[in-house]
């Protein structure tokens, strides 16, 4: 599906993020949470790459690493040709306006002592030379765009509803016309109509400015709508990646198949009779992942070899990758 002219804006190679575990009074390191354990992917210029997977599988950690909000354990992250994993402080600051993040936890990412107007305009103060009036107008436009009334500009974050706060974070991320945005569950707390409004906005901006998105979400129907390609993650690793339609119509990895079968139906008349693959067993801990294929403890297709050998990440169709010994 991908034309050869498409060039990657973001190239992630063998990314690892391990959080050390300390125990005991001496706080000795006794292990590590392997939140992200060796993943590689590209994000092409102007596309939306969806990143999906169970809660706790490492999606937010990937998003934070890609913008270097964490010091990564291993691997490289090229954005526009520069490996940001090794950039120094000043170089990184110069790069920051181009890459933004919409955070999963809106409350925790908004300064409670600043008005919404100043939260949204703060990046403008830092990186742009704008007059007061220009700034006010820009803030107003951003608030319109995310469906917040302009008269709310002088209110503080706690005076908003959950969904309104989420939209403040979106307006702020858009302020500097970034090139690349990591959207971490950006619409999770919004009603369907406002979700649609925000998604339409993200698409409009993409069309107008050629924006590139890494879109993290557990909402599989929204990812299908928005994403050009989709990457599926399980326990710190990618298990499948492909063109969005191919992946949804013909998922190849047993985990992707299970994930897609579990989507609830917005129709109570249907709710009872859906063919679900319910995954047995618990999600293993990323501090102690199973040997071989990490999905082998829950996989309905697992064979003895799966518990020993880790499956290779292979191209199984054009631009379609998966890691499984028994792809149908």
């Amino acid at each position: 599906m991908l034309d050869d002219e498409k060039k990657p804006l973001v190239q992630v190679k063998n990314l690892k993020m391990h959080f050390p575990i300390y125990r005991g009074i001496l706080k000795r390191q006794v292990g590590a949470v392997k939140a992200v354990d060796g993943i590689s992917f590209d994000v092409f210029e102007g596309e939306t790459l969806g990143l999906v997977g169970e809660s706790g599988c490492g999606k937010s950690t990937v998003g934070r690493c890609v913008l270097r909000l964490y010091e990564v354990t291993e691997g490289s992250i090229d954005i526009d040709g520069t490996n940001i994993a090794t950039l120094s402080g000043a170089e990184l600051r110069a790069k920051r306006p181009q890459m933004q993040m919409i955070f999963q936890d809106p409350q925790a990412s908004l300064n409670p002592r600043m008005t919404v107007g100043s939260i949204i305009s703060e990046p403008l103060d830092e990186h742009k030379n704008m007059s007061k009036d220009e700034k006010r107008e820009k803030v107003g436009e951003l608030m319109d765009a995310v469906g917040l009334a302009r008269r709310f500009a002088d209110r503080y974050p706690h005076e908003f509803s959950g969904g309104q706060r989420q939209r403040i974070g979106i307006a702020r991320a858009l302020a500097l016309n970034p090139k690349f945005i990591v959207c971490d569950e950006p619409i999770a707390a919004l009603d369907v109509s406002i979700q649609a409004q925000v998604v339409n906005l993200l698409e409009d901006l993409q069309e107008k400015f050629g924006l590139t998105y890494l879109f993290i979400s557990h909402d599989l129907s929204m990812v299908r709508h928005l994403a050009t390609r989709v990457a599926v993650m399980y326990l710190g690793r990618l298990v499948e990646l492909g063109d969005s339609e191919t992946l949804y119509m013909t998922p190849k990895h047993p985990y992707t198949q299970a994930l897609l079968s579990a989507v609830p139906h917005p129709d109570p008349a249907q709710a009872g009779n859906i063919d679900r693959v319910i995954l047995e067993g618990d999600v293993p801990s990323p501090a102690n992942p199973p040997p071989g294929c990490t999905f082998s403890t829950r996989c309905p297709r697992a064979q003895p070899i799966c518990k020993q050998d880790s499956p290779e990440w292979t191209e199984i169709g054009e631009g379609h990758f998966a890691a499984c010994h028994f792809i149908e």
Partner: protein, 334 residues
């Protein structure tokens, strides 16, 4: 509108107003609903329509001022929560009524371990020993699908993922076998598989303990699956209320209909543009004097702009606050 059998929670004519620097915000306008044991009431509505403020008002969890509960009664298990002593209120909160907040990071205390935050209510409300409480805490974390649960009791909230924090909140709310569980967007950060696991758990507790639940969500798929009845909120009011099948099959209020029309459906081909409801959200700086949905409503007529519609029955178990008769396709009799 009223069912005569016993209710565990009965809220009547609740009004909550914020007194802010630039005047009043009428967040909850004359809201009434009831809940029977073992039942699940779903609440849906536009972002900012007053869902969270309604639930926070029930347990007096809003800072007053600026919040003010201007009127209403909140009958829980034979008592009016507005009248009970502070001591009794503390017993109810986190004991008889479990509460899952919309924003887990603000309700989990960042300086205490997750274990402490689970064990504390078990000791206070259930009178467990330290050892019993620790075992129960690990069991609860396991029930909500946290891997390696006993070891993770020692971790702090920031060491958990967004969805795991939400599940910790669920575990805390369920810890004391509450009579009523109020869950405010409890699964927004959860993927479908874990959500399914939580929904199963909730079903089980309803059957086993007769726990009654209020479940706020924007996810109509979840509502379709678990709710018995649904209330739809707009501009601080309940504009429609019905049994779940009836609501989906036979929506009356133009807002409910628009909401159902905007729903993306998994099986269908990709729409170029997602449909959304046109127009501005309502301004809450006044108590409603007319239908607040009128500027966005395609059926609006003169009466809608001068009078605020009250809830009226469509069938004995289905009511709507609207002057338009969806079945007849014309205004109702004045």
């Amino acid at each position: 509108m009223r069912d005569q059998s016993a209710t565990v929670l009965d809220v009547a004519n609740l009004k909550t107003v914020f007194n802010t620097r630039d005047g009043e915000v009428h967040a909850v306008n004359d809201v009434s609903f009831y809940l029977k044991p073992g039942e699940l009431l779903g609440i849906v509505g536009e972002s900012g329509s007053g869902k969270s403020v309604t639930m926070m008002s029930l347990l007096k969890l809003l800072p007053m001022p600026p919040a003010e509960i201007r009127s209403g009664t909140i009958e829980f298990d034979g008592r009016d929560i507005r009248e009970v002593s502070d001591k009794e209120l503390r017993q109810i909160r986190g004991g008889e009524i479990g509460f899952i907040f919309q924003d887990p990071m603000t309700s989990l205390n960042p300086v205490f371990t997750v274990g402490f935050q689970l064990i504390e209510p078990l000791r206070v409300h259930m009178g467990m020993s330290k050892k019993q409480a620790r075992a129960r805490a690990a069991e609860l974390l396991e029930l909500v699908g946290i891997p390696d649960a006993p070891a993770r009791l020692k971790d702090f909230p920031h060491q958990f993922s967004g969805g795991m924090r939400q599940r910790v909140m669920i575990a805390i709310a369920l810890a004391c076998d509450p009579k009523v569980l109020i869950a405010d967007e409890p699964t927004t950060a959860l993927d479908v598989t874990i959500q399914a696991q939580i929904l199963e758990l909730v079903k089980e507790l309803r059957q086993k303990l007769g726990m009654a639940i209020i479940w706020i969500t924007h996810d109509l798929g979840v509502i379709a699956e678990i709710a018995d009845r649904v209330a739809v909120m707009y501009a601080g009011q309940i504009v429609e209320h019905a049994e779940v099948k009836e609501l989906f099959a036979n929506p009356q209020h133009p807002y409910t209909r628009a909401l159902l029309e905007t729903l993306p459906r998994m099986g269908e081909a990709r729409a170029e543009r997602l449909p959304s409801i046109d127009g501005q959200p309502p301004n809450l700086d006044h108590a409603p004097t007319h239908c607040e949905f009128a500027p966005r409503c395609k059926h609006a007529f003169d009466r809608c702009r001068v009078e605020n519609p009250q809830r009226r029955n469509v069938t004995p178990a289905h009511d709507v606050a609207c002057f338009w008769d969806a079945k007849a396709g014309g205004p109702i009799d004045a």
